[in-house]
């Protein structure tokens, strides 16, 4: 056993864990961070988009040395059927600003840099160490962790669980339930390398400008899912994710879905000639507000993906992770400053503070969206994209058909597919869930 006792142990070195460890160390607490990878970042998988505002709160001058890929000047939303996509693109020169708002990043590289900041702030970071369970006293209070190292029990006043979406330790200790197949998505991703100039030419970018595509439609074969294409400096992150329950129900394979997405006529030219250098898979929390578990207890708090803090509608996760990690650390610092014990009652400050932040406010706003998207997946991901594609083609194709008849055809196709009540019902349910 490591005799040394810490003020706090942080389990995991992803966005939430690094934010928590950094904040705790900056406030002068004695922090130990444990990470199972060979270095912080080597087990972490994300698209990935970095949101500057939340990182600035932790490291104001991060732009000076963080490994950033491209700042985003353009966002494309694609609604796809098998041969087409209908796009909504937003591009603005306003995004070419002194301190850009969003960047593409490569997580393994970014997290390594982030971890260096955590060490510089004074935290002890121990890699290649898997935490196997929480150490609890006779009353169930968490007093530390056990690891897979010899004599691996380590004690601390509080344990910050930043263990990622699987949340294994919390489940094993009975603090929360295992995620269920209808509350998590499985995403698979490849890294496609191309010369920098090729990427810039294909996506209409100059210098360090970046763009991302978020795509939905028949690519997910009627399942609740999304595809994405993110431009990095010299590679493209391309992936697709669907609910685990949908994979289970349909028998679709994740890699089959990925390859079909890559072969889509709108996607194939973008990655033509690329060299693939990595294939990764990761779970994403999709349950939203209603899936958030107990966030604190006797001697512990949970942050980031382990707390299911992910905004599936806006595709935001890492910023919720960073913010929850920072807020948990600030709450712990306040309890510590008052010389109070790390009881559930005192640590409830974390939840109070998180409730006041955008993290919980945003998730609350969309609390009904997951249920709607998950139960209506056939309509939202298959029927409507096909209808929209037909409508667009009918609108654009000039073939001598009078426009009045064209409009009638489009109108009828919608009624036939969903009926009047279906159309109004979908619109009403969507509006209500979005409100």
């Amino acid at each position: 056993m490591i005799e040394e006792k810490f003020d706090a142990i942080v389990v995991g070195a992803g966005m939430a864990g690094n934010a928590a460890a950094l904040t705790l160390a900056q406030r002068g607490l004695k922090v130990l961070q444990l990470e199972r990878g060979e270095y912080s970042g080597s087990k972490n998988v994300q698209g990935a988009i970095l949101y500057a505002d939340m990182l600035e709160k932790l490291i104001p001058d991060f732009r000076e040395d963080a490994p950033l890929e491209r700042h985003l000047v353009e966002q494309r939303f694609w609604m796809m059927d098998d041969r087409s996509h209908t796009g909504l693109h937003y591009r603005s020169d306003d995004f070419n600003e002194e301190k850009p708002n969003r960047y593409t990043i490569i997580r393994a590289q970014f997290d390594k840099w982030f971890s260096q900041k955590v060490r510089e702030a004074g935290a002890t970071v121990l890699c290649e160490t898997t935490v196997t369970e929480l150490a609890q006293d006779a009353y169930g209070k968490v007093i530390g962790v056990r690891t897979d190292r010899a004599d691996g029990e380590i004690h601390a006043d509080v344990v910050v669980l930043a263990e990622g979406v699987n949340g294994l330790l919390g489940t094993r200790a009975g603090l929360r339930k295992r995620p269920t197949p209808d509350k998590v998505a499985l995403a698979v991703k490849e890294m496609h390398f191309l010369p920098r100039e090729t990427i810039e030419a294909r996506f209409n970018l100059k210098g360090d400008e970046g763009m991302v595509i978020e795509a939905a439609g028949t690519i997910s074969r009627g399942m609740t899912g999304m595809g994405f294409i993110y431009a990095n400096k010299e590679c493209i992150s391309l992936g697709i994710g669907c609910l685990v329950a949908d994979f289970q129900r349909t028998g679709e394979t994740p890699y089959g879905l990925l390859d079909r997405f890559k072969r889509h006529p709108s996607v194939a030219p973008l990655i033509e000639g690329s060299e693939v250098k990595e294939y990764a898979a990761h779970l994403i929390p999709e349950g939203g507000f209603k899936a958030i578990p107990q966030l604190y207890g006797e001697g512990w708090v949970v942050v980031g993906d382990a707390a299911q803090l992910n905004n599936a509608i806006h595709r935001e996760g890492s910023n919720l992770a960073m913010t929850s990690g920072r807020i948990a650390a600030e709450a712990i610092f306040q309890v510590k400053s008052r010389k109070d014990p790390m009881t559930a009652e005192n640590l409830s400050l974390y939840k109070t503070m998180l409730d006041q932040s955008f993290v919980i406010k945003d998730l609350k706003k969309y609390k009904d969206m997951p249920a709607l998207m998950h139960t209506q997946s056939q309509n939202f991901f298959l029927t409507y994209p096909e209808l929209v594609s037909k409508a667009m083609q009918n609108f654009l194709r000039v073939d001598g058909t009078p426009k009045v008849e064209k409009e009638k055809t489009t109108f009828k196709s919608f009624i036939k597919a969903r009926s009047w009540s279906g159309l109004f019902g979908d619109a009403f349910r969507l509006a209500r869930a979005w409100r």
Binding site: G37, E38, K43, R107, D148, F247, L283
Partner: protein, 98 residues
């Protein structure tokens, strides 16, 4: 309808770097005669195709190519079909990009 070219996951996993913990599989399938529907679904749902059917119709796992996503835990741990842990510290998949 065009014929789907078959996707070889093995080719995809070949891009990745692993440190295999020989003799210490981090996921174990409970011995069974007939696999449960949950376990059978892993033949397709596992993104690294670690699960395969043997000639007796039982589901087996080879964890060497595992990318540690947790999908099988979410589907199969509840029914007791598998025991799921992370690999020992430092072992398993080593992402260069992530």
């Amino acid at each position: 309808m065009s014929i789907e070219p078959s996707v070889r996951v093995e080719d995809k996993l070949f891009y990745n770097r692993y440190l295999v913990d020989a003799g210490r599989a981090h996921i174990k399938v409970r011995p069974h005669t007939t696999p449960s529907p949950e376990l059978l679904s892993m033949l397709k749902a596992c993104p690294a195709r670690c699960y395969e059917l043997n000639d007796k119709g039982q589901v087996e796992i080879t964890v060497d190519g595992c990318i540690e996503c947790g999908t099988c835990r979410v589907i199969c741990e509840g029914s007791g079909d598998i025991e799921w842990s992370y690999p020992r510290g430092g072992y398993g998949v080593l992402f260069k990009f992530g």
